[in-house]
């Protein structure tokens, strides 16, 4: 059932939040041993919250936008009194003393936080295999990865464990798992959603966003997440439009840009095919498709894998075994306490990125690597500025292939990084982008369709996404 149907059912008294939460908990109990979407399930807290929303409704008191809806939250977002591990041994014992801004927003909207979802350690990865607590499996085929890093959040929605979930997206970490699992996932504009309480990975790229079964659900959740917060100094003080009202009204004369740079070798045939037929469907619905050029596309992955690790190496310096998190039991002196605690607490991918970032920022190399990447980043953003002069949104695939098998890419970090080839540029340029389900391949594995819009044009993006969604419904 969709989010809007669930809300209607609760409003009409056909069901209650308590019942919804119980249904979710039952499914989790039955299936999450296999899927492993959750790292922590807050059954008691969720049931208490659900009962209090039900009482509010029964008494005719005003309720929030997401009143009674269960929401799963990625485990790199702080929840007061509930463990927040980032899927890392380093933070295994950590229980935050405060709620992230978006968790406060969820509670204020009467949503019910049902649990914390699995991820690649510190959100570094594209498969959720880098979790220190075991991989998540794709509900569409449990031999396959759900993608990552928000693999737990995407799998939770796809498996019906929660109608809504929260992810974070630094290089595609919401959109790629949404595509692999067959759900809607959106990365808002950089600055649209406060990151206060999001454990930092790469601060100039990280953004929190919604996952849902449909575009309407994602729009409702974004409505609650978005908005200025002075505790995140990169949060933008700008009015948040209504993302829900008029969402289904088609954009007349929608101009969709496609870039030949996206349709290059490495793109698998089923995805190319679904991409082109989705464009045909949109043309039939009145959109025009225009060629645009994004000439620096082939430099995105290299740019990202210099900037993101550089920022990570600085952000993760805080894990020193002193203030919180894991401390080694065997050390010689203070420096050794730091180095040994970090060696024990952090997994291989996190170490690899800290090392790469430290190298890229070190004396003598910073100009060659980090500074150069920042310059190319501007060229990539300029490409988008130029392209958006002529089109409303840009369409592209989300991933080069459908979900890969668990274990298939773990030995080859670079091949894993190349999975992010279509998603990274939105983070580098700070733009909002969304992945919408657009059919499956022959094996039944979900395929995503990506739209990107200019900064702060989330409503346009969601409306265009709703057009894609309606065409999918017509087709099936």
């Amino acid at each position: 059932m969709t989010v809007s149907q669930l809300l209607q059912q609760m409003e009409s008294g056909a069901t209650t939040s308590e019942q919804l939460v119980k249904n979710c908990l039952n499914r989790i109990a039955a299936e999450d041993e296999t899927i492993h979407a959750f790292l922590y399930i807050d059954s008691d807290g969720a049931l208490d919250a659900a009962r209090s929303v039900d009482a509010k409704r029964a008494n005719g008191r005003p309720t929030g936008l997401l009143a009674g809806l269960p929401v799963a939250v990625k485990d790199n977002i702080c929840t007061r009194g509930l463990p927040t591990t980032c899927a890392s041994r380093m933070l295994e014992p950590f229980v935050p003393p405060y709620d992230a801004h978006i968790v406060q927003q969820l509670r204020a909207a009467d949503a019910v936080v049902i649990g914390k979802t699995n991820l690649d350690e510190f959100a570094m990865g594209s498969s959720t295999e880098n979790s220190a607590f075991g991989a998540t499996r794709n509900p569409a085929d449990t031999d396959r990865s759900p993608g990552g890093s928000s693999g737990g959040s995407a799998a939770a929605v796809a498996a019906g464990f929660a109608p809504l979930s929260i992810g974070s997206d630094t290089g595609g970490s919401i959109r790629q798992p949404a595509a692999f699992c067959g759900v809607v996932g959106m990365k808002p504009t950089y600055g649209r959603v406060s990151r206060y309480g999001l454990v930092a990975f790469a601060s100039s790229l990280d953004q929190i966003g919604p996952l849902a079964n449909d575009v309407d659900g994602a729009a409702r959740l974004l409505q609650v997440l978005a908005g200025y917060d002075k505790r995140d100094s990169t949060s933008i003080n700008r009015e948040v439009p209504n993302f829900v009202e008029g969402l289904q009204v088609p954009i007349e004369g929608l101009r969709i840009g496609i870039a030949s740079e996206h349709l290059v070798e490495g793109l698998s045939e089923p995805i190319r095919h679904r991409f082109e037929s989705t464009l045909d469907e949109l043309r039939a619905a009145g959109a025009t498709v225009v060629d645009v050029s994004l000439p620096h596309t082939k430099y995105c992955v290299a740019t990202y894998y210099l900037i993101a690790p550089s920022e990570a190496s600085s952000n993760l310096a805080r894990y020193d075994g002193v203030h919180y998190g894991r401390r080694t039991e065997n050390f010689d002196d203070l420096i050794d306490l730091y180095a040994a605690s970090r060696a024990e607490g952090l997994g291989p991918e996190v170490k690899r990125r800290i090392m790469l970032g430290t190298y890229a920022l070190s004396e003598g190399y910073s100009d060659k690597f980090y500074q150069r990447a920042l310059k190319v980043r501007r060229l990539i953003r300029d490409d988008y500025d130029t392209a958006f002069a002529n089109v409303d949104v840009i369409a592209s695939p989300v991933t080069p292939t459908t979900a890969f098998r668990i274990g298939e890419l773990v030995e080859d970090p670079l091949a894993m990084y190349l999975n992010d080839i279509y998603t990274i540029s939105a983070n580098l340029a700070g733009l909002p982008a969304i992945s919408i389900p657009a059919g499956t391949d022959e094996a039944g594995l979900p395929i995503g369709f990506q739209l990107t819009a200019p900064a702060f044009e989330e409503f346009r993006l969601l409306k265009a996404a709703a057009m894609v969604e309606r065409q999918q419904e017509v087709r099936s």
Partner: protein, 99 residues
């Protein structure tokens, strides 16, 4: 494959990163970092002499706020996650040698 980064360089980076790595890990990292560095060299194709570096996507400058007194985290909560504490402070090993 060309030697992009030597074991000694990797060892030095590990020291700067405060990571105590085994010889095996250093070996593996030298190989993996080598291939990643080889890949990112693609950026050398571009002439970026006249391009201004872009550190943030939405360029905000100096987000000021009023310097107001507000409630702070209670000491007890701040220390609750400490690996070692005496109830008042975070405890660390001796930094200066005794005697």
């Amino acid at each position: 494959m060309s030697e992009k980064i030597t074991i000694d360089e990797v060892r030095q980076v590990a020291k700067l990163s405060r990571l105590k790595l085994s010889e095996d890990e250093l070996q593996q990292l030298s190989k993996q970092m080598g291939s990643i560095l080889e890949y990112v060299a693609i950026l050398d194709e571009l002439n970026t002499d006249d391009v201004e570096p872009m550190a943030q996507a939405v360029e905000v400058r100096n987000a000021f706020r009023a310097d107001e007194l507000a409630e702070s985290l209670p000491r007890e909560d701040a220390l609750a996650n400490a690996p070692a504490s005496d109830g008042r402070y975070f405890l660390v090993p001796d930094i200066l040698k005794k005697g």
